[in-house]
Symmetry: C2
């Protein structure tokens, strides 16, 4: 078992080696040459970091808490835990059209950690930190009398005035999502023993894929430049499309019409849905569940062709799922789900509330 000092050295030192008093991009030659900010100082022996923002850019800040039994499973491996904690915060930056600057990590550990745990956790952080050129720039380590708790503050930047908001979409804008929807829900249910591969003829590759979508979401930073150009509003899907889309609509004072048959679904998800008794209900459930960390964004109809071209060039997988419409007499935030005949149908997964309405583990 490690002391606090040993844990900090073992877990965080590998992340800041060669990291001080230099330009970020220079330290990560494999990453894009961003180097927009200068991290003046960050030292594990100190309480604070300092940072100089490049002129003409603005700083973007976001924060997400992850709790054991609430946002991740007790048995999730420390590598994927660390990866996910950082990835879900990077996902928030992606939704703003931002580029990562660095992250701060708060960690409350239930018992003195073992060396293996600390090393694995460190490896997961380092992997994502280096992949997305997002260095550790601060944090706090403490003991916890309850479960493991992680709190990440992420910093990024956009050219001044270019941050994408939720409230700036227009009536008639087309709605797009990146990647596929519902895989994380299936990954969670498989890991949690609620469903079993055999019952749906899922191969071990398909099992691994779905599990990976829950444990190791990919922050869609590759789509950031496209969003910066074309998105009138955006957000990341952390709570599930069915809960998140109304937030974007409400913020913009609009409603939406969604074509269910357009939902991008992975092959394993399609296989699963083809083997359940009520596939419409199962689809609603998995896209209501959350943890996909795909981006949802709105684009003006005129920009449709340019968006497609941009996405193709950068290898981003985008799918149009519907359009924004005027708010109904019931107010903004009302979403109509249409089946393949264009008929509005009920489409609702089990609602989730962070304040104890649902006892299953769930993401925020």
């Amino acid at each position: 078992m490690l002391t606090e000092e040993d844990f900090i050295a073992l877990c965080f030192k590998p992340l800041i080696e060669g990291n001080q008093s230099g330009q970020r991009g220079a330290r990560n030659p494999g990453a894009a040459p961003l180097a927009n900010q200068r991290i003046n100082s960050f030292d594990l022996q100190d309480d604070a970091a300092s940072l100089t923002q490049r002129e003409g850019y603005e700083l973007i800040l976001s924060k997400d808490i992850l709790l054991e039994g609430q946002h991740f499973l007790k048995n999730d491996p420390p590598e994927t835990l660390a990866e996910k904690a950082l990835a879900v915060n990077l996902s928030d930056l992606a939704a703003k059209g931002a580029t990562p600057t660095g992250f701060m990590l708060g960690i409350a550990l239930p018992t003195a950690p073992e060396r293996e745990w600390a090393t694995a956790f460190s490896n997961g952080l380092k992997l994502i930190s280096e992949r997305y050129a997002c260095p550790l720039i601060g944090g706090d380590t403490t003991g916890s009398k309850s479960g493991l708790m992680l709190s990440v503050t992420i910093l990024g930047e956009v050219p001044a005035g270019k941050m994408i908001n939720r409230h700036s979409a227009n009536k008639g804008d087309h709605l797009f999502v990146t990647g596929t929807l519902g895989d994380a829900a299936l990954g969670f249910q498989l890991l949690n023993g609620q469903i079993h591969s055999d019952d749906y003829d899922l191969t071990s590759e398909e099992y691994t894929y779905l599990k990976g979508k829950y444990q190791r979401p990919t922050p869609r930073l590759a789509a950031s430049p496209i969003l910066q150009h074309y998105a009138t509003a955006a957000m990341d899907l952390s709570d599930g499309l069915v809960k998140d889309l109304p937030k974007l609509c409400t913020a913009s004072g609009l409603g939406a019409e969604i074509n269910i048959q357009n939902f991008p679904l992975s092959m394993p998800a399609q296989k699963y849905l083809s083997r359940v008794s009520d596939s419409a209900a199962a689809l609603a459930e998995i896209v209501s569940w959350g943890d996909d960390y795909e981006l949802l964004f709105a684009v003006r109809p005129d920009d449709h062709a340019a968006l497609r071209a941009g996405a193709e060039k950068s290898g981003c997988h985008l799918t149009e799922i519907g359009r924004l419409s005027e708010a109904t007499s019931e107010g903004s935030g009302v979403v109509k789900y249409l089946d393949k005949t264009g008929k509005a149908i009920p489409f609702k997964g089990k609602p989730f509330t962070h304040f104890g309405g649902d006892e299953t583990v769930k993401s925020s």
Copy 2:
């Protein structure tokens, strides 16, 4: 009981009213006209905030987690909890010679909160936020299956290159502290029933004073400008002088000699010490305990007079407690405690570790 949405509206809306798209200073006419940064956007409906840093300044970032049963008592009132969460982070800024920009709050709530709790918590946040011109600029709210957890990320600024580090003190520098030492330990022990006012003839005013020092620490931001001018190194005393001073010494590759009889003690603390059987041991214990959130800093001997004049002018209470010396043969970080005759004496409170070595509630 409130839903997550209601809690956010009730608790955080009062903090950002009139707060958007304006200059910080302008919104708080009672506060110093700082207005160094422009908060471009922050919206409770959104996931991220954006900020423009004034040219010639650097951004200072720090982060502290507070856990129920670990950093605060279960029965601490929600107002003081909120005040303390923000104050201890502002204390980190003060130790850097920085001026506050804003804060982000992560909160994990064990059960759906009552309206009264949310309102009281909001009032505490608002009080400190307004007093120190430090607006809310982001956060995350979630449910928790264990106790209440608070995670604050604080942002501040200093003129470029002016952040005070821990590692830059020199041999021979004088060591100073702000305020008084050991009061928070007594406040905690009184609140926790470990000691009783009657046994030490403490009046109700003295009880209230000591309790307040634990529950509502004052971030020493008033000393920031002085530190920026004169401190060669600084830190805030969160874990207690006996644990924190060696950190400053180690970071600077030095040792220290401390004159115990110089410790600044409040009248109630002096009364307590005069009534215990072993006052030397009791003194060691209360200054080892932490939670004082006073500043410890080093100053060149040549700057001594100017520092005194500056402190007097700004009403800061400073006390010289010793000097930095060369590292001993045992290495850096070794502190000699001297009694009034100049003799080195053992001086050690109960050691504290965040990883479960001590079951009493304690601050990080």
